[in-house]
Subunit: 203 residues, 2 copies
DNA sequence: CCAATTGTGTACCGATCGGTATTGAACGCG
DNA sequence: CGCGTTCAATACCGATCGGTACACAATTGG
């Protein structure tokens, strides 16, 4: 129970509005005036509650990772490597076609001017984290015999993420969920074991 | 032979320097001061020679399409659908790992603030053009019997571009040429006809 | 050599950028 | 009530944004 005047807005709720703006316009494309307008608070309130623009962006990235990008956490819990890959691609499609368009970890900042390199590196770090998570999961699958022993698990993980990132780019260009579903189905054909519609060759 | 004082720099050569900056920093991340510094000319000279920032960016996109992205034009001339796809992915890898990092048509602007939407749409149009070009090529391949009659050529083209865009994102994160080659090889496994290392099933 | 034309360099424009100082209002506590 | 504390709102900060006015240098045509 802190003393003093109580805050007149919900920090988490307004953070979601900030996420929406960063997601739609990227880090560099978003001005503080955009944020304050969308969040319905004044500039000093924003600085008091979240720090500066960079700190707010970091909080937004965390929220995005736990919320819209939470499907990654769930995906690696799938029982088979193929199911994991499918869950990642299908989860990505839901996110990139459901929200403002694309994945924040891709749209947010691929490149930046000199000043905003911190934000770019921050976002890059999140991508790397997800990539490592998937590579570890595939390595486990190989150890369990779920993937062939000679599988290049790192390359396979990179492949799945490449497709996923590509889906995000296409979503930014207006591709529909159905379009992307067909892409994902095609992509899954490349996994060891072949197409999922046909039963595995040893069945 | 125009009268008046002759220009002291080569327009095309300096345009390449502008390309380098936009490529590395994106449209929004690039300030006019970055451009004039890299191009070695003053601001009024830039405006006299290229128009404004948007017009310069458009010229840069054209130059990129003819230069670094010229591999797409060559790729669709390959004899088979598989060779076309392989040429696109391998060509993309050379570009995204050779230049400043990534593909300008991806890095340049996936999202923007309100003011720079024109540049975003411009770049989006270029992507769409390449996508249609590949889809048309795959359609021809299907008509020629090079692809199965039930092939969803549009989806296949979107798949190849998805992987390619993903390679660009990964290159921005520091992936090496060898890393991306393995991704491309995996991706090509998804094409009708299976893996290229093994001879086709009817051989 | 003179006039017309065009590029170069400096210095500047209003607008907007991210970030803050300051004032006054709203609370808990004594 | 008074007091310390915290938030809200206005108004402002220097820096930088994209873009340009203006004076001067360099060239061609007469």
């Amino acid at each position: 129970m802190p003393t003093g005047r109580p805050r007149e807005f919900d920090v988490d709720e307004r953070l979601d509005r900030a996420l929406d703006v960063f997601w739609r316009q990227g880090y560099e494309g978003t001005a503080l005036s955009d944020l304050t307008a969308a969040m319905g608070i004044n500039r000093p309130s924003l600085y008091a509650a979240y720090g500066n623009k960079e700190a707010l962006f970091r909080k937004v990235l965390d929220r995005y990772a736990e919320g819209p990008a939470g499907y990654v956490r769930d995906a690696v819990a799938e029982p088979t490597a193929r199911a994991v890959a499918a869950a990642i691609l299908h989860g990505a499609i839901d996110v990139v076609t459901g929200g403002p368009g694309g994945c924040l970890f891709v749209q947010g900042a691929l490149v930046t001017g000199r000043q905003n390199e911190t934000a770019r590196r921050e976002i890059e770090e999140r991508r790397r984290f997800s990539e490592r998570m998937l590579a570890d999961r595939f390595e486990r699958a190989r150890d369990e015999g779920d993937l062939p022993p000679d599988t290049d698990t790192a390359a396979l993980a990179r492949y799945v993420w490449s497709v996923s990132y590509g889906l995000s780019v296409q979503a930014a260009g207006g591709a529909s969920r159905e379009d992307l579903r067909r892409v994902a189905d095609t992509a899954l054909n490349a996994l060891p074991g072949g197409a999922p519609a046909d039963p595995p060759p040893d069945a």
